[in-house]
Symmetry: C2
Subunit: 326 residues, 2 copies
């Protein structure tokens, strides 16, 4: 089925921009953001017209030691409220919950008691039944919900179709197309968005896109997905995120034609915080090792080690990757 | 007209990879490459299976002082031969000649006396008659020829169509779609490639693509153009080129499925030379100021000054650009 739900001039009121800087960026610096960084990012997102700000993970304190991470790994209600108060703005608050790593029954309170608006569940294909339990729990507590199916570049298409169908039958609001390994080309992204949209439209769901920049395609893949009908768009300031990082918020806001989005506060935030974050030693962004894991469709962890070790022997690393291919 | 001349698996024997590192990269360091850099790049391109290596410009010594630039601004026959000898390899040698800035009648000798294989003419739309004179001169002297129409994101479509038609009637081998300002999105690139291909196929010409990375779309736009039938693909090592730079050779070779291309020597070259080139102070690559000139469809010169001055007041720069829009 051919779709073209957007073009360069089209106004798309269904678009929602989701800032994931604290969540995906937290994977770069172990969630060690200063309070000033977080407060200013919140104000920046309000001024920029961003629709959702993801504060981090709702990770289980049974599984993870609180001392080992910054507070945005856990997103306690009082920590969010210390930044947003009652959040008397249009910007909505989101958190992510990983299947199997969240004590959601205890840690996610009823919406009426929380300043959080949206719970985003992240799942692998084989965990979808567990994901649905979490989604229904959040939905019943009164939250908006989305779901990320991760690592689909390793999933057979018939399995993916079945997974999508099952998810679309639950009370989730949006299903995300996620390119965990930065492995997809725009041509594939268009085809996959068509496939996701077909299921979504049948069940009245929205589609989201979460891209990684291993091949410098995160922005390209995001806007191609938009053209095919995706409406929840994940981005991070200067692409801050694990490994090669994500779609740049700057590029995305400059692309979107809706006047409610404003690039200027984001550029000011980059000037004030992101340049300093890089000087502090946080490493992310396109580089050859991430290109290689992207092209070979494998997890970026080995590339993150490679850049962390300040290695530059790219060819040897490539050989190591080939030696360890499944 | 809908075309799909390639997909991710397709084998495209018509593809030609053109390395422009010395030419577009020379705009970054005033063509001051060490002899070792150039010799090793030549060996790298041979081992990588690259089809053409562009050595630089054939600039007029009447207009430009030889003392003000490195030698690859002028590409004297003896300087090229000092690197390639008689070039007894499949790699072909190219040079670029700008309309109005080349003393082509004197400086471009007969092909039988030269180790150069291809003369690439660069022209603005209003210079096309002068470009055709240069193309015919090079063709009659025995060279392969290509032509770049620059800055087309500022050209009206009816004018562009007329320009393409006139060029396609001369003896040029390939016409390049050039995104001088990094202003185009993939959707536009597909449409433009269709438009160029329609003229090209009528006249038996090939289409090339030369992209800039202002919006981190140089690689994406290049592979989208490939899918629509473009076959001459410009890239530079690590994207080295003016301002935001170009399509990364690493990404392009990793993408192409033809086994004659080999990524490994290019990665070794990056390790040995490109990291050092950056440490020497050469600045290129995606950054906010280039994003802004790309989105606003203007020449990157002001952004190059901004980054050269180590400014980071992006919002002020944005305002300056808006104040100076035509």
């Amino acid at each position: 089925m051919e779709r073209n739900n957007g073009n360069l001039i089209a106004f798309r009121p269904d678009i929602k921009v989701v800032d994931c800087t604290l969540r995906d960026g937290g994977l770069v610096n172990n969630f060690n953001f200063s309070d000033e960084f977080v407060k200013d990012l919140y104000r920046t997102n309000i001024k920029a017209g961003v629709d959702y700000m993801e504060f981090g993970y709702k990770a289980s304190k049974e599984i993870f030691n609180k001392e080992d991470y910054g507070k945005w790994k856990f997103c306690e209600e009082e920590d969010i409220r210390a930044v947003v108060g009652n959040n008397d703005f249009d910007l909505k608050i989101a958190v992510m919950a990983d299947v199997g790593r969240t004590d959601f029954k205890n840690d996610i309170m009823k919406k009426e008691d929380s300043v959080i608006d949206m719970v985003r569940t992240a799942t692998y294909i084989h965990q979808i039944p567990a994901a649905i339990e979490m989604i229904q729990d959040a939905h019943n507590k009164g939250y908006e919900t989305t779901v990320n199916i991760m690592a689909i570049s390793k999933v057979r298409e018939d399995e993916l179709t079945k997974g999508l169908e099952i998810l679309a039958e639950c009370d989730v609001d949006a299903i995300y197309l996620v390119d965990s390994f930065g492995a997809f080309y725009p041509e594939q992204m268009r085809r996959l968005t068509d496939m996701y949209m077909e299921v979504a439209e049948k069940h009245g769901k929205k589609i989201g896109i979460h891209a990684h920049n291993n091949q410098q395609l995160a922005f390209a893949n995001t806007i191609e997905a938009v053209t095919k009908g995706a409406s929840y768009l994940d981005a991070t300031v200067s692409g801050m995120g694990r490994g090669a990082g994500n779609c740049y918020m700057e590029s995305l806001l400059a692309f979107l034609r809706n006047p409610r989005y404003n690039l200027v506060p984001v550029m000011d935030f980059v000037q004030k915080y992101i340049l300093a974050e890089k000087e502090k030693g946080s490493i992310w962004g396109y580089d050859i090792p991430y290109l290689l894991t992207g092209v070979l469709n494998c997890h970026p962890s080995s590339a993150i080690r490679f850049t962390g070790d300040r290695r530059t022997d790219y060819s040897r690393f490539y050989q190591e990757l080939l030696d360890h291919m499944e």
